[in-house]
């Protein structure tokens, strides 16, 4: 599925946040997991837990993985994402995918540095106040400022604000 699962995840997270859900789930893919972990590092989501088809109990959200993934249960695994809210507003209000399967958008390091400073480059608009961007690089899925710190560019996945 590749990038398609990312675009689906973006749409789902935005819908879930606007519906004021506390816990939602994504398909258990490596790409989704890396994006979710990057979002968690950026402070956009509260928790990332791999679980079954039923949501894990609250105490399990912060605990270590309860059940190991085996070939038996791998098809039923989901990534359970805890959403964050502040002042009655979702922390992650807008999640919009940038790359899609029919058009992949990449940004090199120098382009990325301009975008991060608020200037548009090619089809990428500059980042606004409070806006962030996630990229798939050869160092994994990174937030734009992590990528800049590591001096890498890559495939632009989504913008979040």
């Amino acid at each position: 599925m590749g990038i398609a699962s990312i675009t689906n995840a973006c749409a789902h997270l935005q819908n879930a946040a606007r519906a004021r859900l506390g816990l939602t789930s994504l398909p258990n893919t490596k790409y989704n997991l890396r994006l979710a972990l990057a979002m968690h590092r950026a402070g956009l989501i509260a928790s990332v837990t791999r679980g079954g088809p039923r949501p894990p109990p609250p105490e399990a959200l912060l605990a270590a993985e309860a059940e190991p993934v085996t070939s038996d249960n791998v098809a039923t695994r989901r990534l359970w994402i805890g959403l964050k809210y502040w002042n009655n507003e979702p922390v992650m209000r807008n999640v919009s995918p940038v790359s899609k399967p029919s058009r992949l958008v990449t940004a090199q390091f120098d382009e990325l540095s301009r975008v991060a400073r608020g200037f548009g480059v090619h089809q990428l608009k500059g980042l606004n106040l409070g806006e962030t961007m996630f990229l798939s690089t050869d160092r994994g899925v990174l937030e734009v400022r992590e990528a800049l710190a590591k001096k890498v560019g890559g495939l632009v996945l989504c913008r979040v604000s």
Binding site: G43, K84, W86, N87, V91, N128
Partner: protein, 484 residues
């Protein structure tokens, strides 16, 4: 030449005319035989080239004029007679009468005016006006014409110190009025209240009498009046008194007699006297519409409601900048027709981060404006400003089909925005801003969307708290924060 006037006939008439006008004619040589040359004084009473028959004599007016000499106005004596008859000087009696009416200064002015014009000039040079601005009638305005003129107001002004009579004054006034109607065998005047008090109090006014003396006097006076009435009506029918007041007199008393202490003075005005500034029983009980805290800034009470709702003083409210942004006419279609109103939108701001929008409708133009202005003042809210000059980031807001997109800009950029947003920014104290209205530019929605955009700016502090991250404005980090 006219065919109807043969040459011979023309020659004859011209010759005759020349003879008739001989005294004034210049000495001419022998009449020229040709028809075309006419003598200088030759009078022809018709146009030469005309088909109508010639007049035999000069046309005379139907009514003869009368010469001044025939009217006897040409000799000095006649002129003097006419002058003394028509323009006489004031007699001594008339002057005395005038002195009763006019002040000495006015009399002096009158006399100077009289001395300035010689009556003889009026006779000799006086003309009736015939210029275009002449009045359509001849008048020296000495008399009042009720059809043309307003009613003369020559009565005295109302007595400013008059008040309503108290009981004693009223009784006195009634007795005065009743004395006009001699009834029965009463001779002399009726007794008054003063006649019923001891000698010591006869000279003091009634207010200074002791209570018991006063009561006794009133009681005795009442008894006296009743006995008088009984005595005078003895053996008579009360309604049929000879010489007594008629029903008309009583009606006149009720309707026309003044109830105030102004000696029944009649005036030209039917208006009542204004109430005195401090009515004794009500003094201090008036509700003061004007707040003394306002220091007279709001005598009409225009800002009282806004003051109460905003907590700002009138002086502060008067410093608020307001601007009319939108004005339009709206109408409500009813079965009776369209009900048209004026709708206005105002913005108000203190120039330091507060902005309000007020919308109001009224059938009256000025009322709508005033209401909208006050509503704008009342709805002022704080606007978040970055460095007190621009906004935070880029904000976009949508009202109906109108989208307003605003972006923060560096210092010195200015307000590159449309005129309504410019006024709002000026009121709010924003000096650097870019704005675009990519879709509909409806004035009302533009204003509303811009206001909404200004109110929905992102707050970096909130974002940092929500994400649990530390956000730093790098503008404040480089160059030691000396960015201005």
């Amino acid at each position: 030449m006219s065919v109807a006037r043969p040459v011979a006939r023309r020659l004859v008439s011209g010759r005759l005319a020349a003879v008739a006008g001989a005294p004034c004619a210049a000495p001419t040589p022998t009449p020229t035989p040709t028809a075309t040359t006419a003598a200088p004084c030759q009078q022809v009473f018709a146009h030469r080239f005309h088909s109508s028959p010639q007049l035999s004599a000069r046309r005379r007016p139907r009514f003869a004029n009368v010469r001044a000499a025939d009217m006897g106005l040409m000799t000095e004596k006649q002129i003097d007679d006419f002058t003394t008859e028509k323009f006489p000087r004031y007699t001594k009696e008339e002057l005395d009468l005038l002195r009763t009416k006019y002040s000495p200064a006015q009399i002096a002015a009158l006399e100077a005016g009289e001395a300035a014009i010689n009556p003889r000039d009026l006779t000799v040079q006086g003309r009736l006006r015939n210029d275009p601005y002449t009045l359509p009638y001849i008048d020296d305005f000495a008399e009042t014409q009720p059809i043309i003129d307003k009613r003369a107001k020559n009565k005295e002004a109302p007595d400013p110190s008059a008040r309503f009579m108290n009981m004693d004054e009223f009784t006195q006034d009634l007795i005065l009025w009743a004395d006009k109607f001699p009834v029965g065998d009463v001779t002399g005047q009726l007794k008054t209240l003063v006649d019923f008090v001891p000698e010591d109090f006869k000279t003091t006014p009634e207010g200074n009498w002791p209570g018991e003396v006063r009561e006794a006097a009133h009681k005795a006076f009442q008894l006296y009046l009743e006995s008088e009435v009984g005595r005078q009506n003895k053996g008579k029918d009360v309604d049929d008194v000879e010489g007594g007041p008629t029903d008309a007199d009583i009606l006149q008393y009720i309707l026309e007699r003044s109830a105030m202490t102004d000696d029944n003075r009649t005036t030209d005005t039917s208006l009542a006297h204004a109430l005195p500034s401090k009515v004794p029983g009500v003094a201090g009980k008036y509700k003061q519409a004007i707040d003394p805290e306002d220091q007279g800034l709001d005598d009409l009470g225009v800002y009282q409601d806004v003051k109460r709702r905003t907590g700002l003083s009138v002086a502060e409210l008067l410093k608020v900048q307001t601007k009319q942004l939108v004005i339009r006419t709206v109408s409500n279609q009813t079965r009776l027709g369209k009900v048209r109103k004026v709708s206005a939108i105002y913005c108000a701001g203190n120039g330091n981060g507060w902005l309000g929008i007020g919308e109001a409708k009224s059938t009256e133009f000025s009322i709508a404006l005033n209401k909208a202005r006050l509503m704008a003042m009342q709805s002022m809210k704080p606007i978040r400003r970055y460095e007190n000059r621009t906004i935070y980031g880029t904000v976009e807001s949508k009202i109906s089909g109108t989208i307003v997109r605003m972006s923060a800009r560096p210092p010195g950029f200015g307000l590159r925005v449309s005129h309504r947003i410019f006024e709002m920014c000026r009121a709010a104290g924003i000096t650097d801003l870019a704005a675009s209205i990519p879709r509909s530019r409806n004035p009302m929605n533009t204003v509303k969307a811009a206001y909404k955009a200004l109110l929905t700016q992102p707050d970096p502090e909130e974002i940092a708290m929500g994400r649990g991250k530390k956000l730093v404005d790098v503008r404040k980090v480089y160059y030691g924060g000396a960015v201005y």
